[in-house]
């Protein structure tokens, strides 16, 4: 079996005296969708920021298997290398689309930015790729020159996905991508994420407080509480037959609702 795509060891991060993440170990293999679930304040968003390199851990390390097969510690990558990795091989879909998109730039420009950042200098090809990706995330080609400020919430999230996937990343981090959307819009977005991740063989780490989202999308689940991962396992197993008392409570509370 090939080594994991991403593996975290002993990730710890404290805010003052409060431990947001305490010694977290985590593996993600290629093509796998991992859901991190827990209540707000459980540390799951901090964990995602640590994985994304936006926060520096107090201790612990993250290793990643690069496209050339070499396994590197993210801490050893220079800032230039790290940023290049983030905008080619990784994607980050944010809860608030305004943080993940340039709101005043057209949809085409949003999708094309990563390509231009990598040195693509042919307008026709950039636009062609942008149109192709808008199609794949079910945004009408006629909207290519409209800025996302004129888009609905669901469209903005789909545009964010297109903007991230245009460079064919292998790993995509998602922070509550469906929260705040209407139920029908949510369903359509989840469907799209599931289809694209399967088609493209993406590894996805998705943070969500919604167990239904986790069940629909993920192969595996990690349950977080008070900065620790208290239970991990295959999604169906964890949700149907939770071992930890807290997970049982979490699952029961959803069923009761």
């Amino acid at each position: 079996m090939s080594p994991p795509l991403l593996s975290a060891h002993g990730l710890t991060k404290a805010y003052g005296s409060r431990l947001a993440c305490a010694g977290i170990d985590l593996d993600v293999t290629e093509g796998e969708v991992l859901a991190i679930v827990g209540e707000s304040g459980s540390g799951k968003s901090t964990l995602l920021s640590l994985l994304a390199g936006e926060l520096a851990p107090d201790s612990g390390q993250i290793r990643y298997r690069m496209r050339d097969g070499q396994v590197r510690s993210l801490a050893d990558l220079g800032p230039a290398e790290l940023r290049r990795l983030m905008r080619t091989d990784w994607g980050f879909v944010r809860q608030d689309a305004r943080q993940g998109l340039r709101m005043a730039v057209s949809a085409g420009g949003n999708v094309g930015e990563r390509l231009m950042g990598l040195g693509e200098r042919h307008y026709g090809r950039i636009r062609g790729q942008a149109l192709d990706w808008l199609g794949r995330v079910e945004i009408d080609a006629g909207r290519v020159d409209d800025p996302p400020s004129q888009f609905s919430g669901g469209m903005r999230q789909r545009l964010q996905i297109a903007r991230n996937l245009v460079t064919a990343p292998r790993l995509v981090l998602m922070d509550e991508p469906t929260s705040g959307l209407d139920v029908s819009v949510q369903a359509r977005l989840l469907d799209l994420i599931r289809r694209l991740s399967a088609e493209l063989g993406l590894a996805v780490v998705i943070v969500t407080h919604d167990l239904a989202v986790a069940r629909l999308l993920s192969h595996r689940i990690a349950v977080m509480r008070a900065g620790r991962v208290i239970e991990t396992g295959l999604t169906d197993r964890v949700l149907d037959d939770p071992e930890h008392a807290y997970t049982q409570l979490l699952v029961a509370s959803v069923l009761a609702a």
């Binding site: 230039a80 940023r83 057209s106 085409g108 231009m116 950042g117 307008y123 950039i126 290519v144």
Partner: protein, 289 residues
């Protein structure tokens, strides 16, 4: 020496040669040397308060003051012209504080301080063109933070710059930036050429003269050494193009010069004349002979 050169006997008493004290000049020269060593990179320098306002050429004035020697011949232009008020004011300042010879002839000048134009007469080796720069940061209107833009330069992350050009094309069918058109210097740094019209950008490329840029208020100096590649940003299928004027200069008949539009009456009368007054006058005088 030509009649166009005005020689003044000596400099203003009570002030150091070219106004700035020698310590300040050394500091500015160090910044200039660093700028020449790293073409297109914006070197921070401790800009001084000058007796003219920020935004009126204090950066260019400090660079000129730091490089000026007694045997230099100085030309100052604003909008291409030697006789615009600010050009007159700066030329007088140096005539008064340094006593160096001044000229309006591009070919006779060793140092040319400019605002918004590059002379039409090709520059030669040994000449220095000093630009006055209001906003040195080409990324400023995409990213207002200095800490962030410096990092983008360090990592050569210029994707956002092309996003702006992309937006122009998708909206207008062509790139709609007409002046302060961003360039890439020596294959590395993206640089603001100061608010010269993009018409002048090609003159910066492989230029035999040294080009220095001074931004006083923003406290930055940058440079393009002689014979350096300066490429205007563009797309392969939408290459950089300069403005073309359909008519020749109404005074000297030149084609291929940048022209000013002059309103001649209140019923829509217009004429187009060279913005570079030196070359225009020279051509008119030659034609009269």
């Amino acid at each position: 020496m030509s009649a166009a050169i005005a020689q003044r006997p000596e400099s203003e008493p009570g002030y150091n040669f070219a106004y700035l004290d020698e310590g300040t000049k050394r500091m500015i020269r160090r910044a200039i040397l660093k700028a020449i060593a790293v073409p297109g990179y914006q070197v921070p320098f401790a800009s001084r308060e000058m007796p003219m306002p920020y935004g009126w050429g204090t950066g260019g004035v400090q660079v000129t003051a730091a490089i000026l020697g007694r045997s230099d011949v100085l030309k100052v232009i604003d909008q291409g012209a030697d006789d615009t008020t600010n050009a007159v004011s700066i030329r007088r300042f140096f005539a008064k504080t340094s006593g160096v010879a001044t000229t309006t002839r591009t070919a006779e000048a060793t140092v040319i301080q400019t605002r918004h134009r590059i002379p039409e007469t090709p520059l030669t080796e040994g000449q220095t063109l000093v630009y006055q720069v209001p906003i040195p940061e080409p990324l400023r209107f995409l990213e207002p933070r200095e800490t962030e833009t410096r990092q983008l330069h360090a990592l050569a992350e210029y994707g956002a710059m092309h996003v702006k050009l992309y937006e122009d094309i998708s909206r207008h069918g062509h790139i709609a930036t007409t002046y302060a058109y961003p360039v890439e210097v020596a294959g590395r740094y993206v640089m603001d050429p100061s608010p010269t019209p993009k018409f002048d950008n090609p003159k910066m490329d492989d230029c035999p003269a040294l080009q220095l840029f001074g931004a006083g208020r923003e406290r930055r100096i940058y440079a393009v050494p002689p014979y350096t590649r300066v490429r205007s940003l563009d797309f392969e299928d939408h290459p950089f193009r300069v403005q073309a004027f359909t008519q020749p200069c109404a005074l000297c008949g030149a084609r291929g010069h940048y022209l000013d539009e002059v309103v001649t009456d209140d019923s829509g009368g217009r004429m187009f004349i060279c913005s570079d007054t030196d070359i225009c006058e020279t051509r008119v005088a030659e034609a009269a002979r």
